[in-house]
């Protein structure tokens, strides 16, 4: 229940990291793209096929070392329904390999609409008398600007299925403060969102003490992260911003509790593009990704010990 499944997988691999699957075209080695374009031409089918082949290779290489992957919907949606089909296949394949899948969708809408998203991404979609699993991820990311009625429909599905969700609280991007850092009484906006998230999850605590409502807290603002960790005792953190965006292992240590639980750190570019630094034109992308994932795990291990 809640984040137990993910925390168990993290403990098993002694690795609190998630590999982002954000396949920008230039991240995919040329030989993979070439093979797909030869099959399907320079079409959306061709690009989606390249992305799927790349993901499959990454998942094969990474499944022994990382507990989770996080496909970012935008890089699939930009290829239309062909890309969305590749996202579905990627989610399914990663789960078959024992990985926990966080679909990075950042959805948020009014209640009835949020329910439709929740059915598609976490639950089941009713068609006539059938109940069909669609994207069927283990977890999603959400945007709560519209308030609790945009989050609750997802949490309802989480409660019914044992799944979980991360709400954007303090994001890692340069512009995150424009809205999130606004002072509102004795709080700032991101703390309001954090408090709301912890409140909405109440009553769903799993064996590690975390509810099904987690929070996205960027590594690029480590002092904010430290404060949020103290403030939100029952909220599991997804931490973007490590590596290419500037967050360090020293920074991310504050996302974890005393047991080394309660957080997972994302890296996308540094793992997916590790092949660009070995001078082998991507032929070794699997080995390079594996080595980068090991290096990241070991980097974080210096500061975080998982009990």
């Amino acid at each position: 229940m809640s984040f137990d499944v993910l925390q168990d997988k993290i403990r098993e691999k002694k690795n609190p990291t998630v590999a982002g699957l954000d396949p920008k075209p230039e991240y995919v080695p040329a030989f993979i793209r070439k093979a797909s374009y030869e099959k399907y031409g320079e079409t959306l089918e061709g690009a989606a096929d390249a992305l799927w082949e790349f993901n499959k290779g990454l998942i094969d290489a990474l499944s022994p070392i990382v507990p989770a992957v996080k496909p970012q919907a935008a890089y699939y949606e930009r290829l239309g329904w062909q890309g969305m089909a590749a996202m579905e296949k990627t989610i399914r394949y990663a789960q078959e390999k024992g990985l926990f899948v966080i679909a990075d969708i950042k959805r948020g809408d009014i209640g009835s609409t949020a329910s439709a998203y929740a059915d598609g991404w976490l639950g089941k979609t009713k068609v006539g008398e059938q109940e069909i699993s669609v994207f069927d991820a283990d977890c999603v990311t959400l945007n709560g600007y519209m308030g609790s009625d945009s989050i609750n429909p997802f949490l309802d599905v989480c409660k019914a299925t044992g799944k979980c969700a991360f709400v954007l609280v303090k994001t890692s991007n340069p512009g995150s403060g424009e809205l999130q850092d606004i002072v509102a009484g004795d709080r700032v906006v991101y703390k309001v969102m954090g408090d709301l998230t912890e409140r909405l999850g109440r009553g769903t605590e799993g064996k590690y003490g975390y509810t099904c409502a987690g929070a996205v807290v960027g590594a690029t603002y480590p002092s904010d992260m430290r404060e949020l960790r103290r403030r939100l005792e029952k909220t599991f953190f997804l931490v973007p911003g490590y590596g290419a965006q500037g967050g360090t292992a020293e920074d991310v240590q504050y996302a974890f509790d005393k047991m080394g639980h309660g957080a997972i750190v994302n890296a996308s570019r540094s793992i997916m593009c590790a092949w660009q630094k070995t001078g082998k034109d991507g032929e070794d992308y699997q080995e390079a990704a594996y080595n980068a994932a090991v290096a990241m795990r070991d980097d974080i291990k210096q500061y975080v010990t998982i009990v």
Copy 2:
């Protein structure tokens, strides 16, 4: 440029309304669902086919009376890639019938990711040497919780293509105030978001004086809407919440400027489900939708005169 295309279409039809295409299963008449399930079974293909047939009929019926349609992505995504293919077809078909299409996607993410979404929904996706139009809507809705770097990539595509976008400012749902109404200094959060939107659009004013960055402002909070109209002189409004959610024609009049320009009012359920009130099991859904659209236009005409 900017909202000129939409405003022209509104003036042509003397109707400042947009029909939402949010095809929940129960909105689709049984005879349409039955025909699709007979062809494809009770599958995602079958449900997507029913949704597409229903949309096509609605578009045929509504294109003489409304200037725009607004498909809501959630109801397509819940059917997986099959649903997304139906969304693509719906957008294309509506455009062929002369309608302006607002893709209600409420996306928002860090810069590079927002760019990928913008390419897929408004611009073109690069595949090898090809540039491919994917969803290719005329306009999208956006969530700016992450700040200006989550909005600007969309506005860049708008500037290059003459398209436009609506940023969530003050939404129509019951929980909208939890975050949006928080007092921050001399403003509230939704005004901060509104000011940000107007600022980001600066320099893109079209012939009606509106920039490419519009705002979603719910009809259910009419006094907030009135204040926002005064405050954001160059920001075009998308107004949800009329009809089933409780907003009236009297309420929505405050979204418009003195020329009756600068806003479009959405209705989904009251048009799509008009057939449920005529006792004919949906056989007359096209006529019922048309009549509901006429009634809505005439209702708003009592308070808004379009120059």
